[in-house]
Amino acid sequence: MSPIVKLIAQRIALGVLLLLAVSVLIFAGTQILPGDVAQSILGQSATPQALANLREELGLNDPAYIRYLRWLGGVLTGDLGTALSSRQDIAASIWPRLKNTLFLAFWAALVSVPLAIVLGLLAVRYRNGFVDKLISGLALASTSLPEFFVGYLLVFFFAVKLQWFPGISTVYDGMPFGQRMMAIALPATALTLVVLAHMMRMTRAAILNVMQSAYIETAELKGLRAFDIIRKHAFPNAIAPIVNVVMLNLAFLIVGVVVIEVIFVYPGMGQYLVDHVAKRDVPVVQAVGLIFAAVYIGLNMVADIAAILANPRLRHPK
């Protein structure tokens, strides 16, 4: 087996292990919560007999580790259980929400990641000049504004005043693709503005760091054009930190956008989680928590692997 494959396999195994540990934490956390699940389903007026019946039915009388294993088994076979509040199958009701979240995150990422990197490269090329300051200034300004404010500004100008895009982004199954894109135009723009600066600044800093190296000076002395030096020699060596920050922002786009979802009335995972937390619907909270953890761990793993592939030195740990 080639060392790279082995390393990647190790990383993946580590990720899976971590996810298992997180699942234990999530399960334990929801067990510590005060109150009894049966009681919270049946409400205060429940009779002791009804409580006992429901406990039996839900298997709450078994020891915690058995319930954990049963839950984990269910998760592995795609059965996330049934929501306490609406009695709907969790997997079936999460899936459309997750799809929506991924759809929005995908388009926001597709715009923001290349844009951030190109702007970062441009900032390095014209460093300390007008262009650099303009790019950095605008990006920092858009990040410094709270996301709800950016959202409301976009709604005010583009939905209410100009009426170019809808102000609410309700999407549903069977919606034509064009309409769907129109619907997510504003939230995707808001998200882009929110995550842009972080990635752009990181790209700029990482490349500037490399630009101090001796081999860059050599390249300059060889007479290469400034942009070629950045593209061919500096960027590949700066890729690891850039990938890291990009992945962090992608994770944010998936798990951290509840405010944007509320403002634009976008039916994503964030609002779904909040609704169920409010009703103390533990199985749903567990399921969403696990999905969010998996996203974080997965994306961080991708960042690690990309860094290893980009930097041969990391392949040979001392």
Binding site: P96, A159, Q163, Y172, Q271, Y272
Partner: protein
């Protein structure tokens, strides 16, 4: 300009602007009299129903945890959707009079203990089956069953049994109740095939729209049911409810035209929204009210003179202007206002520093009075308490305000602490309101108003079938609560909804927000 004129012309039709004023305003805007007159006639024409189109509502009050099971409803969106796809036996109209729905007629035995409802024939469920008295019976059974956890359990508790008798359904009550038909308007009691026992969440009823989209907390949709039995509602081909819990997003959706109507416009932005061309604010006096509640059995509030002093020390007009921005009406220290059937006008209590000081002196109380309030008590409750503090100071009464955290307010402060701010939603009848919060033994008697003579009057009124006699008893009860109770009612809040440019058929209905819940069925889209 034309948008503004159109807006004005609708004002004329709605009776908010005289024809003369309209023509004057039109001239000021530079329109010729002929053009202005033609606009006026097209606005008048728009008042006859137009069929077709998709009517959309943007609503606060929905969550991903909502269900189509009527027994589970407790928030706005599922309730409002239910009003479009389901029907009860009866319906309270905008004037508070009970109208037939799935029951054609009804009547009571002389002692008001046995009620007979004649069930309408030829009404179809959305699944094609005909609605029968057996379905009515099954519905009542399901909502009486403890296991259903129905929101109507409290209502069903007073019913001894329900039986089918030919085309009739007969309710036998444990105790006489002249208001039983009103109780059956409860939105949980949608008549469903076999009472919904087979599948509580299938969402099949007899309403004008059948459920086509059910994405809880996101979007709910309905399609006109071809077999619907009446023709005075259900004009749009399709209806859609979009859950928009954020107030700003809701208003911008209405302005942008993505929805035709919204609920819960915040009083403080009403004046701004009014200026938007095409948008009409629809406010109506409701039964909901904000209260300061003093426990009649706890010192120092067990002294009626202190309670009266506190009642006179409140500037109600000021609170209506500053907290509700005028979108409400002053309260009179009872939970009842003119939106209730059998209401009798009483002398309005006003801010009176002299009387307040007089009663305060008589009470012999000294030192500050502690009032607990919180952001969640009602919108603006903290500000309201401060205004109350200032007006009380003018009467020589020191109110000490304690701001409590919102989390836990309803479990730790309300109905526990002797003097606090709170709110009440309305009930369909006076009997319901008084039974819930003023009957001696009620769990929610949050003023600890425990008077045997009041309870006796409550029962007497409940069993009384003679309307005039009942009205008299309720007037006496209202007087008693006003002068001796522990409730200090500064104001009744309006329901404030808003409609977009093309909505026709809106009529005020104070039973609930959104035209008593029937807005999507009773309105139409002007082409």
């Amino acid at each position: 300009m034309s948008k503004e004129l159109e807006f004005l012309s609708r004002g004329v039709v709605a009776g908010k602007l005289s024809r003369r004023d309209f023509l004057g305003r039109a001239a000021a805007l530079g329109a010729t009299a002929v053009f202005a007159n033609s606009l006026l006639s097209s606005a008048a024409k728009a008042q006859s129903p137009v069929k077709g189109g998709i009517l959309r509502a943007g609503m606060q009050g929905g969550a991903a945890t909502d269900s189509l099971d009527p027994a589970s409803w407790s928030s706005q969106v599922p309730y409002f959707f239910g009003r479009q796809w389901g029907e009860q036996l009866v319906q309270i109209d905008a004037t508070g009079v009970l109208q037939p729905a799935l029951a054609e007629e009804w009547g009571a035995s002389d002692d008001a203990k046995v009620w007979t409802f004649k069930i309408r024939q030829g009404v179809q469920f959305h699944n094609g089956k005909e609605m029968t008295p057996a379905d009515v019976l099954a519905t009542m059974e399901r909502h009486s069953d403890e296991a259903s956890k129905s929101g109507a359990l409290g209502i069903m508790g007073g019913i001894e049994n329900v039986k089918v008798d030919g085309q009739n359904v007969v309710f036998t009550l444990k105790e006489a109740n002249a208001d039983l038909p009103f109780l059956l308007d409860d939105y949980h009691l949608m008549i469903q095939p076999n009472g919904g026992k087979d599948n509580p969440t299938e969402g099949i009823g007899t309403g004008p729209y059948k459920v086509t989209v059910n994405e809880p907390g996101v979007r709910l949709g309905g399609e006109k049911f071809a077999g619907y039995w009446r023709d005075d509602r259900g004009f749009a081909d399709q209806i859609e409810i979009i859950v928009i819990n954020d107030a700003t997003a809701r208003t911008s959706a209405l302005q942008g035209g993505q929805v035709n109507m919204i609920n819960r416009v915040e009083p403080k932005i009403v004046e701004l929204i009014k200026r938007v061309p095409g948008v009409t604010i629809q406010n109506v006096a409701g039964k909901g009210h904000y209260v300061f509640i003093a426990h009649c059995n706890t010192a120092p509030f067990d002294n009626n003179d202190l309670r009266l002093a506190l009642k006179y020390a409140l500037d109600r007009e000021e609170l209506v202007q500053k907290i509700l921005f005028g979108y409400g009406s002053v309260g009179n220290d009872t939970p009842i206002n003119k939106a209730y059937p059998l209401y009798t006008e009483m002398e309005q209590r006003t801010f009176d520093p002299e009387k307040a000081a007089e009663h305060y002196k008589k009470s012999g109380h000294s030192g500050p009075v502690l009032l607990r309030t919180s952001d969640v008590a009602f919108p603006g409750a903290v500000d309201a308490a401060q205004l109350y503090q200032q007006s009380a100071a003018k009467c020589g009464i020191t109110l000490e305000i304690k701001r409590e955290p919102g989390d836990g307010y309803w479990s730790e402060v309300w109905n526990k602490q002797p003097f606090s701010a709170s709110y009440w939603g309305g009930r369909p009848t006076q009997d319901q309101m008084y039974s819930t919060a003023y009957y001696s033994k009620a769990d929610w008697n949050d003023t600890r108003f425990q008077r045997e003579d009041f309870d006796k009057m409550l029962f007497a009124a409940r069993a009384e079938l003679d309307v005039e006699k009942r009205k008299k008893i309720y007037a006496d009860m209202g007087q008693m609560v006003r002068d001796e109770g522990g409730v200090i009612t500064p104001m009744f809040n309006d329901f404030i909804d808003a409609t977009g440019p093309n909505v026709g058929g809106w009529a005020p209905d104070g039973n609930q927000e959104m035209m008593g819940g029937y807005a999507l069925s009773k309105c139409w889209l002007n082409a």
